[in-house]
């Protein structure tokens, strides 16, 4: 994990840029000539976390590879809002095939580049949680076990947003979606279902697996850059809040991602060859309520009498993450709030 040097620079490396830091210590996103891989005019909703996450990740990948990059996109919001015919928002080589085959197409492109001797050109596969966790999962697992030279990035907004907010394998427990309504004895998505793809990727013992959020730009850029230092299959899982599907204010996108991390609900870590090698410590610990109450998909928890028990259950899940990944340093988390 990147660590701020001892010297004190007002905002250190928390903000995007910092006039007191040397250029090479500033984020890719602070650069005048960043690629803007995904440029203006795309049709993502106001405050879209996925649009932001995709630009963060791909701009960093462009810098890391000297702008020798091909992106393969699964079907999903990102693909739909960026390329309604005849417009495209992509300023990098980009291809879309099907919902479920992005990892396989990326594998094919990497193989073709290798065959042509152009191994300096790197391949990124990307998709939402639907295309990664559910529909493209077989292709993804195949790409992992063959250790194909692809970085696959999942922009996780925790449901099928493009088609109207249906539950996916990445939808968290208790969240309301169109297919898990806030009705019945256990409203919202069921506990004990779904899958944790970063851990599954680690089980493949591929060279590099990491998680990130759009609230931690420096960390995200570091992880993309680090991933590009490896050859073989790599996986990056980025949490990207969805104002529409989560029922949140568009301006709160980053705040919510930050709270997901600071509550412990979304552990941020990196792993090499199946072993966790670093975690982002919680800097200002927050109770899960702070995260939940900003989103109408959890509104039912604050209305029904059973909601409190469910919140406690979610808090236990967060606490389990904190213990499991060692997210809290002694003495940290004394201050509350976002």
């Amino acid at each position: 994990m990147p660590v701020q040097p001892v010297k004190f620079y007002q905002v250190g490396s928390f903000a995007v840029g910092n006039r007191l830091l040397a250029d090479d210590q500033r984020a890719v996103q602070s650069e005048h000539d960043r690629t803007n891989s995904l440029t203006c005019g795309h049709r993502a909703c106001q405050g879209c976390g996925e649009a932001l996450g995709a630009r963060y990740a791909l701009d960093a990948a462009m810098r890391a590879t000297g702008r020798q990059l091909v992106a393969v996109n699964a079907t999903g919001c990102l693909e739909v809002f960026s390329t309604p015919y005849p417009e495209t928002s992509w300023q990098i080589p980009w291809i879309h095939s099907l919902f479920g085959n992005a990892p396989a197409v990326a594998t094919g492109i990497a193989a073709a580049l290798r065959a042509k001797g152009r191994t300096n050109v790197r391949v990124v596969g990307q998709g939402g949680d639907g295309g990664t966790v559910d529909i493209g999962f077989a292709c993804l697992s195949g790409m992992f076990e063959r250790n194909d030279d692809v970085l696959f990035i999942c922009y996780d907004n925790e449901a099928y947003m493009n088609t109207g907010v249906q539950r996916s394998g990445a939808t968290p427990p208790a969240a309301r979606t169109a297919t898990t309504p806030a009705l019945g004895p256990e409203p919202g998505n069921a506990f004990g279902q779904g899958k944790n793809v970063p851990l599954i990727a680690m089980a493949h013992e591929i060279p590099y697996v990491a998680t990130a959020t759009v609230a931690g730009l420096r960390d995200l850029e570091y992880k993309v850059t680090r991933a590009m230092e490896f050859r073989g299959a790599r996986y990056l899982h980025i949490l990207v809040p969805c104002p529409l599907g989560w029922g949140a204010a568009p301006g709160d996108t980053i705040r919510i991602a930050r709270l997901a991390e600071q509550t412990g609900l979304f552990p941020v870590f990196e792993a090499e060859a199946g072993e966790v090698v670093g975690v982002s410590k919680i800097r200002r610990k927050a109770p899960v309520e702070e995260y939940l109450k900003l989103q109408t998909r959890y509104a039912h928890l604050f209305k029904s009498p059973d909601g409190a028990a469910t919140i406690r259950r979610l808090q236990r899940a967060a606490d389990r993450n904190i213990a499991r990944f060692g997210l809290l340093d002694a003495g940290n988390g004394a201050r509350e709030g976002s």
Binding site: V16, L20, S30, N36, A51, E87, T88, T253, I254
Partner: protein, 553 residues
């Protein structure tokens, strides 16, 4: 058709899709009033000079201070720091050490010999300033910068007023004071040691066009204490003045100081330095009702000064006092209880407040005096046209910083008055303009506007203090200064409340690339063709410098 293999369609760019039309609110960059600037009685733009100091541009930062305050090294020592009380960082960890950075910059200027040149053309006007204390010096400085000739008169042989004859050397070393005063005098201010007995006469005889009076409050207030013949009672100001002159009074070993203001603390601490083994402050109310500032009380206590709350001196005799215990009534006023106690004391020092001596105003038409101070308008002009007054002799809090602020304000008032040819109507207009400028002052940058997540965690650097044992035996300066690295650290703790400091957050966090980075010092601009108005930039701006404003639809 000249297309690569398998390509049949021309791609267009999404730049054709102007998503700005979706917007119902637009982000607008704004500059708000940081709480420190708002609280500063001298009207310093603190946030601005800290910003300049952060990257090591010390001279630029110092010049920014000098735009408002000609005595930074002095103020960096004696100011009561209302800025730090107001500082938003106080709600996060602890307030930015603004005062210590100011002191560092002031000392740096003295070390490097920085001066402020007078560039304004000579106005041909001559202004009399009576009283060479902080207010008079500040007025003289600002009047010189505005191109006026200035004569500064004072009773004392040296300029400085209370800074020289009231504030003890352990708080304000004389070398620092001299350096800053000399810098003002070297700008072409004529200093004359003389008493102004009749203002109208002096004005007419010497051909002054306007006058600024800042004679201060030099007389210690008296209280009737039944005393035996041999009881030794003296006034705090006399003690401090004599000590400053190098002729300290003989106090004996046990000293009682009567009063609860800063002067009482100065007197008690001075008494300790003059050899008193026991210095007791006798005050009729409680600590929380004491007018002395906390730092002063704490430092006095550290030096072994004792406090007797809820006590008055009923009788003074040789070697002992009779103390009556008091209690606070429901309104918080002290009432006698009829309980008495004895306190051993060789000397009683009275520090019960100060009064002004206003005989020089005798015969000046139009001047109103009420409660012992001179009434002035918003531009500090008295009832007599062309005669202005400020500092301790007008109704205001009596601190050096307020005095400096008055000097600046009066200089601007005098300038406006002189340039309007002494025209009453024009002056009224100027005053109205000044008032409207004050009401148009930007909104305050509240703590709630900040997104404090982005600031690095950093505790305040505490100024080194001379160890108490050493300091009570000497008049060496008690509080040390910051060195360059700690001053820089301290300046960088500034949150830049309400004013963009170019952290690139807005430029980075926009999902629509709709923030244009204009380059160093130029800040940013919103690309309204594409901005969808999501508000992430405003939410993630660390310092609250972006407002979301509804669009007219």
């Amino acid at each position: 058709m000249n297309k690569p293999f398998a390509i049949t369609l021309d791609p267009g760019s999404s730049l054709a899709n102007k998503t700005g039309s979706w917007r119902t609110e637009r982000p607008v960059y704004t500059d708000l009033m940081p709480p420190c600037n708002h609280a500063c009685p001298a009207g310093e733009n603190i946030q601005r000079w800290l910003y300049q100091g952060e990257d090591g541009s010390y001279e630029q930062a110092w010049r920014q201070i000098m735009a408002d305050n000609p005595l930074p090294a002095v103020m960096g020592r004696v100011c009561y720091r209302p800025c730090e009380t107001a500082c938003n960082r106080g709600q996060l960890d602890s307030a930015v050490g603004i005062n210590s950075v100011e002191r560092f910059l002031g000392d740096e200027a003295i070390k490097r010999g920085w001066i402020v040149p007078v560039t304004a053309p000579d106005s041909g006007k001559h202004v009399l300033v009576v009283g060479a204390g902080p207010s008079g010096l500040s007025a003289a400085y600002h009047l010189r910068l505005l191109g006026h000739r200035v004569t500064l008169r004072d009773l004392a042989p040296l300029a400085g007023g209370m800074m020289r004859y009231g504030i003890p050397a352990y708080r304000l070393p004389r070398a620092v004071l001299d350096a800053e005063i000399d810098r003002i005098l070297a700008m072409g201010v004529t200093f004359v040691q003389s008493k102004v007995t009749n203002l109208s006469q002096t004005m007419a005889e010497d051909g002054f066009d306007a006058a600024f009076l800042a004679v201060g409050a030099q007389q210690g207030r008296r209280a009737y204490i039944p005393a035996g013949d041999s009881a030794k009672i003296l006034d705090a100001l006399t003690l401090l003045h004599a000590t400053a002159d190098g002729e300290p009074a003989r106090l004996g070993r046990r000293v009682a100081v009567y009063g609860g203001g800063n002067t009482a603390m100065d007197a008690a601490r001075t008494a300790r330095r003059l050899g008193a083994t026991d210095a007791v402050v006798v005050y009729r109310r409680t600590r929380d009702r004491m007018p002395a500032h906390d730092i002063e009380v704490e430092e006095a206590a550290d030096e072994g000064v004792r406090m007797m709350w809820l006590s008055t001196i009923a009788q003074a005799d040789q070697g002992k006092l009779v103390i009556e215990r008091m209690r606070l009534d429901e309104q918080g006023f002290p009432q006698p209880t009829g309980e008495f106690a004895e306190l051993a004391a060789d000397t009683v020092i009275l520090a019960l407040g100060q009064e002004t001596e206003l005989s020089l105003l005798d015969g000046v038409p139009g001047v109103t005096v009420s409660d012992g101070v001179v009434e002035v308008g918003p531009d500090l002009m008295t009832g007599c046209p062309g005669i202005f007054a400020g500092g301790d002799m007008v109704p205001a809090e009596r601190t050096v910083t307020v005095g400096i602020g008055h000097g600046k304000k009066a200089a601007r008032g005098i300038d406006a008055w002189l340039r309007s040819g002494g025209n009453g109507a024009a002056r009224a207009g100027a005053a109205a303009q000044a008032t409207s400028a004050m009401t148009a002052e930007p909104r305050l940058a509240d703590f709630d506007r900040l997104n404090t997540w982005y600031y690095s965690d950093a505790p305040a650097t505490v100024r080194p203090q001379l160890d108490a044992a050493r300091r009570i035996s000497s008049f060496d300066e008690v509080t040390g200064g910051l060195d360059e690295s700690t001053a820089l650290f301290e300046a960088r703790r500034c949150l830049s409340c309400g004013n963009c400091f170019e952290c690139d957050n807005c430029y980075g966090v926009c999902p629509d690339n709709a923030v244009i980075k204009l380059g160093a010092g130029q800040r940013y601009e919103i690309d309204l063709e594409y901005c969808k108005g999501c508000g992430i930039c405003a939410a993630e701006c660390p310092c609250g410098a972006i407002d979301m404003v509804p669009e007219c639809i």
